[in-house]
Amino acid sequence: MSFDLQLLQWINNLAGLNVFLDGLMRLLVNDYFLTTAMSLILVIFWFEGQDRDRRERNQRAILRAIIVLFVANIVLKLCNLVYFRPRPFVDHEVNLLFYRPTDSSFPSNPATVGFSVAAAIWLYNRRLGALLLLLATLFGLSRIYCGVHYPSDIIAGALLGALSAYLVVRKGGFIDPIISLIIRTGRRLYLA
């Protein structure tokens, strides 16, 4: 038995032992709670900063995170086109606490989304980035706990998100004029 499967079973076997933990994982695993919570954190972060320069830095981080999200999703779709991995519940007996997704298990879509945004913000703001990384990690863990992803799916998704963030933030200088234009427009409208 592979280490990946062993780790899946070790985490997934916790399901059903504790009602509260199951309830918490059901809350975290769906597509609405953590994604909305992370988006709200970004909405609040847009207005953070005591002066215009600090606010602009935060706003640049958010706009880059949005671009990172799109880039990571494109790469993810390409991966799905060339490689399909069945979900754990297809080939193994798992405690399933979620519906049965039909798309490829590898790499994990939620992990890619969560880690791409979290890593992009982390490159600008360590404290907020750490909070978002924690939420993204919980998102990934809940997918394993509920039996819809292998640990390697989550790790691959996290790497894909983090790599996209690094490339867009550190090497994507060519998108700066677009970001500056959006911030200038926001300022003219008193929203940035």
């Binding site: 597509d31 609405y32 988006s39 709200l40 606010r55 926001g186 008193y190 929203l191 940035a192």
Partner: protein, 351 residues
Amino acid sequence: MLNFVSPHLAINYFILAFATIVGALQLVAARHGLIGLTLVGSARKPTWSYLLAIALIVGGFAWFFATTPEVFIHGLAGSELVVLFGAAGICALAFTLISSSALQGVQHQERSNLKADDRFRREAVSWQQLRGTLYLPEDTGEPKPVICVLPSPSGTLSLHPIVADLTGEGFIVLAIDWGPEKEIRYPEVLGLLPGVVAYLTRRDEVNPERIGVLGIDLGGDLAIRTAGTDRQIAAVLALAPFLNQVNTKPGLSILKETSYLEALRWSSFRKRGKLVAELAALDYVSKLGSRPLLLIYGDQDSITPAERACVTLGEEMARGRLKSLPGEGHLSLPRSSVTSTLVACWFKENL
């Protein structure tokens, strides 16, 4: 193509996003004192805003998970979530800005109604290029000192308390009307105050040796610039002049002072930045020589912060000429009774 799977799920998610984003904006309003975003009470007393934020965010999630069983079956994909969250974000922002503006409008209306009085006579003035309103105190038969008031050209700032206090102290007050924006041009605008002075010296009730100028916002810059070259102006008081073009683009900070709609009205005068640069009031401060000059800023001014003005003026120049009023912002400064009392006292001592 977008596939929203279930209309019920999509509508519920839209409502969740709308409610939680409004809640997040209340959190922002409370945390940063943004009056332009607050939906309850005053942004400077943020407890209600925090409570509303928590209620909307926690309540929104609780309602969504309690009423949407589709959450735990195959549902919306990322692209649909992005579209719904984005649309809800735009609606929530528009709702917050408009509702907050309406709330601020009602509160401001209540304050204005309390202040109404008729302690002075008023007379519409129309002479050559000059348009304005002359406020006359009780007639004592002697020529009186006169204050020319140059308000903000966008006309958002009420002059009522200042006019009331100045006429109460026996000053004649001429509130100048800038006229339509398209007719305000540099250097023609430099002729505005000399025209006013020429008009006033023709009137019997005016003492031509005692003409002072009070400028507000961009009016302050014009007052300093004109007084720098016109020796007939005996004293200058400027409320929150810009002095520097950078100050004319406040961005989000303006919502600390006022509602969104009033901010848009303030910025409807588009030539402000260009005129500030052309007037270069800072260069003319030293040309006033020994004539009295006072610049007043509110310590909550987020458009032209007092400390920035102090740096711009230089410590030497600012000494004795710069005053910071606690609790006042750029737009609230001319409306404040503390300001109007200070203005009246200063002119009484210096004119």
